[in-house]
């Protein structure tokens, strides 16, 4: 695994946070707090524990949705990549899903599935799944012909060729899709909490906005971004562990 030097990480973080601090001080908008203000607000909600309570609510639809999207997405994507007919049948659904203005469709989801967990999981899935399916399908279709032929020549069964050749060969693009899907899933989870019922982190965001407590609002947004970054890193580690030879330098720490 490639390690970036520590000073580069610190430099890049301080550039970002420095820019944040400066634009908060100008100020760009009265609704945009400084970095220091946001961090102290974050510290307050960590100390009184309200952020953890909020995450208990948020993580449920988030992880459930991401888990379903990953398993189902890779499965459907594999099928889409292997069968021209299935691709023809299914791909348009996911292309439409990806392009649809989700916020406008949420009332429809609420009418059908109510305001509970189900609707929120759906929102996460609608955000996360298309990119996973479409990426997996493309990667599977583009497996180098000669490696598949090699599998045949050395007496691999259909199952061997799918699981020992096509899937590992597609893994870099499948994981790229997963990373994009997971990021979209995080957005979906917050969107669901803002648009369906205000719970968890979405509740902190919308409540603190309504009372003008912008530092707390940004603290909540910052925390979800941080969580997403950690989760994406974790995903890269899994990829690197499973398919070490595929790592030609794009996976980092």
């Amino acid at each position: 695994m490639n390690h970036r030097p520590l000073y580069l990480k610190i430099l890049s973080a301080s550039l970002l946070f420095g820019a944040w601090e400066i634009s908060g001080r100008i100020p760009v908008s009265f609704a945009f707090p400084t970095f220091v203000e946001s961090m102290s607000a974050l510290f307050v909600i960590i100390k009184d524990g309200s952020i953890f309570v909020a995450y208990m609510d948020t993580l449920q639809p988030l992880f459930l949705g991401i888990f379903i999207s990953a398993i189902l997405g890779i499965g459907i994507g594999l099928w889409v990549g292997l069968s021209e007919k299935f691709n023809w049948l299914v791909s348009p659904i996911f292309i439409v899903m990806q392009a649809a203005p989700l916020a406008a469709l949420i009332p429809l989801l609420i009418m059908v599935y109510g305001v509970d967990l189900t609707s929120k999981v759906f929102v996460v899935c609608i955000m996360a799944m298309p990119v996973i399916v479409l990426n997996t399908g493309n990667a599977v279709r583009n497996t180098p012909f000669s490696i598949k032929e090699m599998g045949q020549a050395f007496l691999g069964s259909k199952k061997d060729i799918i699981f020992k050749i096509i899937l590992p060969s597609s893994s870099p693009i499948i994981f790229a899709g997963l990373r994009l899907g997971v990021s979209a899933g995080f957005i979906g989870a917050i969107l669901a909490e803002l648009k369906i019922t205000p719970t968890g982190i979405g509740d902190i965001i919308s409540y603190s906005r309504s009372v003008g407590d912008y530092p707390t609002m940004y603290a909540a947004i910052f925390s979800i971004i941080l969580l997403a970054v950690f989760f994406l890193n974790f995903l890269e580690r899994i990829e690197n562990y499973l398919f070490k030879g595929n790592n030609k330098g794009y996976i980092s720490d």
Binding site: I147, M150, A153, L155, G156, K164, G245
Partner: protein, 257 residues
């Protein structure tokens, strides 16, 4: 055909034709490959060398005709044949040892056993110490050695090589050719070798089948014999070697645009 002849023939191609739609890639081709020898399929591009090799491998179906390997008609890949690919066809996510053992893995040989076999062949092709490297860490020549070790590891009677040295540099290629001569002597296998290099074919082959396109056919079979006992360096200076190279070029040059 009597038994003594049949016994000396490892692979027999009988009246094989292959059409791609309207295009005739192979037309009524017949050719025998003697046991324990290296036969080259040589010809200009588009003459169907690789198509014929893939039909023998069972990777492509013939439109008509049949391929007999050790007396049995074949239509699919089998344990009696192993393939060396032009572009190596290594799995980039797998280490050298897993790539070499992959044929055995697909045959269900257990891990300890297949890795000990792979280990031996990795040593034989000169890659000792690279067992746990990944393909992208190796040079082109080393990658093809992995491809060769993988084919040797499954211990097939017939080795099918599709322009195996065309993607490696000239110096590596010469070394490969010398190694191949030794391999043919040591391994007692039948080699079928596709190449477009006249020098290479004459240098490594016991028998050269010259294929010509439009319509695809075997125009001539040449069996160099006079210089086979010589050492690697003197072969390239041998007068019979040079004569054969010259003769083949004369018959092929009209087909090269």
């Amino acid at each position: 055909m009597n038994d003594s002849i049949t016994n000396n023939i490892a692979v027999s191609v009988k009246n094989v034709s292959k059409n791609y739609g309207e295009t005739e890639a192979l037309k009524d081709m017949s050719l025998d490959f003697p046991k324990g020898q290296l036969t080259s399929l040589l010809g200009p591009s588009g003459c169907g060398k690789t198509t014929l090799l893939k039909i023998i491998a069972g990777l492509l179906p013939a439109t008509s005709g049949e391929v007999i390997v050790n007396g049995v008609k074949v239509t699919t890949p089998g344990p009696d044949r192993a393939f060396v690919f032009q572009d190596f066809a290594l799995m980039p996510w797998a280490s050298v040892i897993r790539n070499v053992a992959f044929g055995l893995e697909l045959r269900g040989v257990n891990k300890t056993e297949r890795e000990s076999i792979a280990h031996k062949y990795i040593g034989d092709v000169g890659l000792k110490g690279f067992e746990h490297s990944y393909p992208h860490e190796l040079s082109g020549g080393m990658r093809q050695r992995v491809g060769l070790a993988r084919a040797l590891a499954v211990n097939a009677d017939v080795l099918l090589m599709d322009e195996p040295f065309s993607a490696v540099d000239e110096q590596t290629r010469r070394k490969f050719q010398e190694d191949l001569l030794n391999l043919v002597k040591v391994e007692k296998k039948t080699f079928i070798f596709v190449t477009h290099s006249i020098e290479e074919a004459v240098y490594v082959s016991d028998q050269i089948a010259i294929l010509l396109p439009r319509p695809s056919r075997v125009s001539e079979i040449i069996k160099p014999s006079g210089f086979k006992h010589k050492d690697a360096d003197s072969i390239r200076k041998d007068s019979e070697y040079l004569d054969i190279v010259d003769r083949i070029w004369k018959s092929l040059r009209t087909y090269v645009q």
